[in-house]
């Protein structure tokens, strides 16, 4: 006790030491654990890699039957075989075209409607309630009706993708326009901007972060819609590949299609992020470091 008191009365070291400690605390804790940011990154990849290895081992020793879950190596070999024989790339192409067409159709209609409703109270009164009511329906629930309308051809698939894409883009476009800072709009008036300049210089750039969020969401729903649409009555495409393989218990092909859906989802999301970083370079939340 008296010893502790004694050390505490030594003014210089007693003050200097704790200050140095707090400043270096997080870094020191990391060093003590022996982990830098690089090691942590590696570690974060270790778990999924380990999972794949475990799957491989279980499949190789015959603990998991191949028709339940194929060995990852088998899936890779199947991917190579299907890719070289050409069917995989053709199916992938078919699916991508469906997604792209559906996205463009649904996205542009929703964007146009969103702009209209964002700007005009009249358009809002006419359109918004109906859209919100339709939005309450999980769009996949419309599938039976869509099949009645379009059959099981390309129309059905593109319609379903377009429908899934439309809502996130519509909602985020109207929201983005409504959320533009009124003070900046007032500034536009002070600077004497025309309506067209007001839209192009202030309202659209201000709404862009929200619109791009809508795009990212819609990419995810586009894939979901495509998976469901392709699972029913397709003659080509990734979904067709999966259903066809299921008939023959080719789980390696089924797993491959699942992996492909996942990869395309990841690629689409990174594209959307790239777009955000490019278009929102000014935005502190997206642009990263200042130029």
């Amino acid at each position: 006790m008296s010893n502790a008191d004694h050390t505490a009365t030594f003014p210089l070291p007693a003050v200097a030491r704790p200050v140095a400690k707090t400043a270096a605390a997080p870094a020191a804790a990391l060093r003590r654990a022996g982990l830098g940011p690089r090691q942590l990154l590696l570690l974060s990849w270790a778990a999924p890699v380990l999972l794949v290895v475990v799957c491989e081992v279980l499949a190789q020793v015959g603990y998991v039957a191949p028709h339940v879950l194929p060995a990852p190596s088998k899936v890779v070999r199947t991917a190579y075989k299907l890719a070289t024989s050409g069917t995989l790339l053709a199916d992938l192409g078919t699916s991508l075209v469906r997604a792209a067409v559906g996205f463009l159709v649904g996205g542009s209609i929703a964007f146009a409607l969103g702009i209209l409703v964002g700007f005009s109270r009249l358009a809002e009164a006419l359109v918004d309630r109906s859209v919100q009511m339709v939005r309450a329906i999980p769009f996949l629930a419309l599938l039976p009706l869509v099949i009645v309308w379009f059959g099981v051809g390309e129309g059905q698939k593109i319609f379903l993708v377009a429908l899934g894409v439309a809502f996130p883009i519509y909602i985020n476009t109207t929201l983005g326009i409504r959320q533009v800072d009124p003070k900046l709009i007032e500034l536009g008036r002070v600077q004497g901007l025309s309506t067209r300049q007001m839209i192009s210089r202030i309202i659209l750039p201000g709404a862009l972060p929200s619109i791009l969020t809508g795009v990212r969401y819609s990419l995810a729903t586009a894939w979901l819609a495509l998976v469901v649409a392709e699972t029913i009555g397709a003659q080509a495409g990734i979904g067709f590949l999966a259903m066809d393989a299921r008939e023959f218990l080719r789980t390696d092909v089924v797993v491959l299609t699942i992996v492909i859906y996942a990869l395309i989802g990841v690629v689409a999301d990174s594209l959307a992020r790239l777009l955000e970083r490019r278009l929102l370079a000014w935005h502190p939340n997206f642009g990263g470091a200042a130029r």
Binding site: L184, V190, Q197, P205, W282, A290, R291
Partner: protein, 237 residues
């Protein structure tokens, strides 16, 4: 009001009998005000006395309930917040509302004037508060306005930056000679900048001060504070 001997033909702004009310509450009560070209008028008042309402009416941002406002179609305004567009570079911000042709050159000249000449392509988020407000000033002056309306533009700045801004604004106004209406609650600021100081209270102009001789301040601090209802001024004690 005594017009200067060399009166310019048309004042920068003239307000006659202006009335503005929100419901039953009269914010501006039959107010008259004339601002000459090249004249720097400061409008002092407590919060809620109607001074910002008057400025916004002059800017054409708010409707009026009675009276007449003769002002240029597009007076320039600098607000308390810089209101720079975060998605546009500095020169794009400064040239907002200018015709496309020659916009960059004019913006460059205006930025040069406020001491930010080398930063045409920089982004607003890289600016300090004082720098951002200087860009806002450049954006106002690049329009070559006949009337410049300043709505507490330095209120959010730290004391030293504020003084630097005063020097800059005074120089810029001397060069461009717009009529200026500065709305503020900062007595020192009004004394430092204005040719004429008005004190507004309850919707009317309660007091008006002009410098007794050219080059002298329009009023002293104690008088203005008393008129603003500040009884216990520490520095006067």
């Amino acid at each position: 009001m005594t017009a200067p001997a060399l009166a310019e033909a048309k004042p920068a702004a003239r307000v006659t009998d202006l009335t503005r009310a929100y419901g039953d509450r009269v914010v501006i009560d039959r107010l008259d005000l004339t601002i000459q070209r090249g004249e720097f008028v400061a409008l002092l008042g407590e919060s809620g006395c109607g001074k910002t309402t008057l400025l916004r009416a002059l800017a054409g941002l708010d409707p009026i309930d009675g009276g007449r406002i003769e002002a240029p179609r597009r007076p320039a305004v600098v607000f308390q917040e810089h209101r720079l567009l975060p998605w546009d570079s500095l020169w794009r911000n400064v040239s907002l509302g200018l015709p496309e042709r020659g916009a960059r050159e004019r913006a460059a000249a205006a930025l040069e004037e406020v001491g930010l000449g080398g930063r045409l392509d920089d982004w607003p988020r890289n600016l300090s508060g004082g720098q951002a407000q200087r860009v806002a000033l450049a954006r106002a002056l690049v329009q070559e306005p006949e009337l410049l309306l300043l709505d507490e533009p330095f209120a959010a700045l730290d004391a030293l930056t504020r003084i630097r801004m005063h020097v800059l604004v005074k120089a810029l106004v001397a060069r461009h000679r717009p009529g200026v209406l500065l709305v503020t609650h900062d007595v020192e600021e009004a004394i430092a900048l204005a040719d004429r100081i008005l004190v507004m209270r309850a919707g009317v102009i309660a007091a008006e001060h002009r410098p007794p001789a050219p080059g002298q301040p329009a009023a002293d601090r104690a008088t203005l504070l008393a008129e603003l209802g500040v009884e216990n001024d520490l520095s006067a004690a």
